[in-house]
Amino acid sequence: MAISTDEVRHVARLARLALSDGELATLGGQLGQILDYVKQLDRLDTAGVLPTSHAVETGTPFREDVAVPFPDREALLANAPDREGDAFRVPRVIED
C-alpha cells in the first residue's frame, strides 16, 4: 500500500511533527509496509461484532465533582521551559 509523500506530510502535520524530507521518505515507506501487514485484518468478517475499547468491563465510576488544589504550585511551574511569574510563556499564538 503506497502512501504518497503529500499524504505522509499531511499526517505529520496533524501529528505536529516537523519532519525532514529524509524522514518523510523513510517513514512513508515503513508506514506503507506496516499498513500492508495490518490489512490482513480485512480477511476477517466482523459484521455484528462489537468493538472492545477496554478488555475488563468495570462500568463508569462516579465521584463528587470537587476540585482539589495541587499543593505545590512552584513544583509544577519549575518544569516550564519558559515562564513568566505563574504563567507558561509560549511564542505568539496568532500568526500573521
Binding site: 485484518l41 472492545t52 509560549v90
Partner: protein, 491 residues
C-alpha cells in the same frame, strides 16, 4: 547458614534479615550501591541512581528499626523503578529526550505503594523510549546490555529493569507491560516478570503509552518475591478510573498450593509458527513435563485469532499512543526547540527534536489510523478483532485453568540485529501481545537455558483476576527446574 553474597539474596531474604536485625538497611543499601557502581557502567540498566537519597532513607529505616517500628513488608530493602513511574523530586525521563529533564511534582501510585511498604529507592531504570520497543535500543540514554551476554539485548521495553534484577543491582523492581514489556525482558534475562490483570495495579502517575493496554507489575528473581511485590502494589485507586475495585487476595497463600488437577492448556497456534526456536520449544516442553509430574493435566486448546493479534496491537497501541503523546508540546515541561517563531512551529519542532525514530513511527501510524476516512477501516476494525481475540481466551478458559506458552520466540538476540526492520522487531512480542489485548494476567518464569547459556522463559496466562493461579503454576515450574537466579556478569 547461607554463604551467598548479600546482593544475591532474594527480596524476602533481604527483608527477613533486616527484620531480624542480621543486617541494617544502610549495610544492604551500601552493598547494592557498590554493586551498581561496579557493574552499571557496563550494563547501563539505570538512567538515574540516587545514592545520597537512598542512604539517607536507609538511615531513617534503621532508626525506626532501633525504636522497634516497621515501615512495612519491604522495610529497608533497596529496589528500583522503571523510569516510567513518576517520582516526586526525582527526574523521570521515560527513556526520552523530550522528558530528559522532567522532575515530577508528585509520585505515581506504584511509587507511593512501594515506598509506603518501606522500600529504599535506588533510582530509575532504563527503558525503550516511551516503552516503545522490545530491546531497550530505542532509549535516548543508550541501550542496556544483557548481563548474561553483553553482546545481546536484554529485551524491552523494561530492559533496564530486567537487567538490573538479573545482575543483582536491586532486590526487585517494577516495570510496565503494554504488549509484553515486563514478560519478554524477564524471559530474556532469566528472571520472573508478572503482568497483572488490566486494572489490578493503578496507572496513576505511570506515563501513558496505550492506556487500554498498559499495566504495571513486578520483576523479581523468584516467584515468591513476585507475589510479595504484587500484594504491595495491587489494589483500588480512585485516581485511576479503570482501577479494579476488588479485594486483593493473599498472594502468599497461592505459593504453596498444589497443581494437582490443574488443567494446563497448550494453545496450538503458539507452537505452530515457524519463528519458534527449537531450544525454546524444548524448554517449554520441560516446564509442561514438570507441571504434569506434579499432577497437572495437559489439554490442547485453540486461540484461532492468534495470527491477527500483532496487526490488532499495531493499530490500537499506536492510535492510543498518538493521542497520549500529544501532551508533549514544549509548553509545560520537557524539551523545547529553540529559535522558532509561532506556537505551531515551536510545537512541531519540539516534537521532531524530542522524539526518536520509533516513537515518531508509532505516532505517525496512530495518527494515520485515527484520521478522517481511515478510522473505521483501521482503528474500528482492530477494536472488533480485539473482541474476537478476547472471545478466544474466554473459550480456552472453559477448558483450561492456565495456559502455557513460550514467552518469546527466541532467546536474547544480538544488539542491532533487528533495528533496521520494525516488523521483525515487533514479532518478538508475538506470544505476549494477545494477553494485553484480552486484559488477562500473565507471568514469565525461567524454565531453561540455551546451549549458548542464554535464559529461556515460559509464559503462563490465566483468566481475569486469577494471578493466584499464575503464582501457583509458576512456583511449581520454578521448584522443578532449578536455575541460577543471578547472571554471572562480573563487569
Amino acid at each position: 547458614m547461607s554463604t551467598i553474597p548479600v546482593h544475591e539474596w532474594t527480596l524476602r531474604e533481604a527483608a527477613d534479615r533486616i527484620r531480624s536485625g542480621g543486617v541494617s538497611s544502610r549495610e544492604l543499601t551500601e552493598a547494592i550501591l557498590g554493586r551498581i557502581a561496579a557493574i552499571n557502567p557496563k550494563i547501563n540498566a539505570w538512567v538515574t541512581v540516587i545514592p545520597e537519597k537512598a542512604m539517607a532513607q536507609a538511615a531513617v529505616f534503621d532508626e525506626m528499626q532501633a525504636r522497634g517500628e516497621s515501615a512495612g513488608p519491604l522495610h529497608g530493602v533497596p529496589v528500583g523503578l522503571k523510569d516510567i513511574f513518576c517520582t516526586k523530586g526525582i527526574k523521570t525521563t521515560c527513556g526520552s529526550r523530550i522528558l530528559h529533564n522532567f522532575v515530577p511534582p508528585y509520585d505515581a501510585a506504584v511509587t507511593e505503594r512501594v515506598l509506603c511498604a518501606g522500600a529504599v529507592l535506588l533510582g530509575k531504570q532504563n527503558m525503550d523510549e516511551f516503552a516503545m520497543g522490545s530491546s531497550t535500543e530505542t532509549s535516548f540514554f543508550g541501550n542496556t546490555l544483557n548481563p548474561w551476554d553483553p553482546s545481546r539485548i536484554p529485551g524491552g521495553s523494561s530492559g533496564g529493569t530486567a537487567a538490573a534484577v538479573a545482575s543483582a543491582m536491586c532486590f526487585a523492581a517494577m516495570g510496565t507491560d503494554t504488549g509484553g514489556s515486563i514478560r519478554q525482558p524477564a524471559s530474556l534475562c532469566g528472571v520472573v516478570g508478572l503482568k497483572p490483570t488490566y486494572g489490578r495495579v493503578s496507572r496513576y502517575g505511570m506515563i501513558a503509552f496505550a492506556s487500554s493496554l498498559d499495566q504495571g507489575g513486578p520483576v523479581t528473581r523468584t516467584v515468591a518475591d513476585a507475589a510479595l511485590m504484587l500484594g504491595i502494589v495491587a489494589g483500588h485507586d480512585r485516581r485511576d478510573s479503570t482501577s479494579l475495585d476488588l479485594p486483593v487476595p493473599d498472594y502468599d497463600a497461592a505459593l504453596g498450593r498444589d497443581v494437582k488437577g490443574l488443567r494446563v492448556g497448550l494453545p496450538k497456534e503458539y507452537f505452530e509458527g515457524e519463528g519458534l526456536d527449537p531450544q525454546v520449544r524444548a524448554a517449554v516442553d520441560r516446564a509442561l513435563a514438570a507441571l504434569v509430574a506434579a499432577g497437572a493435566e495437559a489439554v490442547e486448546v485453540s486461540l484461532p485469532h492468534t495470527e491477527y493479534a500483532l496487526s490488532t496491537y499495531y493499530l490500537i497501541a499506536p492510535a492510543e499512543a498518538s493521542s497520549n503523546l500529544a501532551r508533549y508540546d514544549g509548553v509545560r515541561y520537557g524539551h523545547r526547540a529553540e529559535g522558532t517563531s509561532g506556537l505551531i512551529e515551536m510545537m512541531s519542532k519540539t516534537r521532531a527534536e524530542g522524539f526518536g525514530p520509533e516513537v515518531k513511527r508509532r505516532i505517525m501510524i496512530g495518527t494515520y489510523a485515527l484520521s478522517a476516512g481511515y478510522y473505521e477501516a483501521f482503528y474500528g476494525k482492530a477494536q472488533k478483532v480485539r473482541t474476537l481475540i478476547r472471545r478466544d481466551f474466554d473459550a480456552a478458559f472453559q477448558k483450561a485453568d492456565v495456559l502455557l506458552t513460550p514467552t518469546a520466540p527466541t532467546p536474547a538476540f544480538r544488539i542491532g540485529e533487528k533495528t533496521d526492520d520494525p516488523l521483525t522487531m515487533y514479532l518478538s512480542d508475538i506470544y505476549t501481545i494477545p494477553c494485553n489485548l484480552a486484559g488477562i494476567p500473565g507471568i514469565s518464569v525461567p524454565c531453561g537455558m540455551s546451549s549458548e547459556g542464554l535464559p529461556i522463559g515460559a509464559q503462563l496466562l490465566a483468566n481475569h483476576f486469577r494471578e493466584e493461579t499464575l503464582l501457583t503454576a509458576a512456583g511449581a515450574i520454578e521448584r522443578a527446574i532449578p536455575l541460577p537466579r543471578v547472571a554471572p556478569f562480573k563487569g
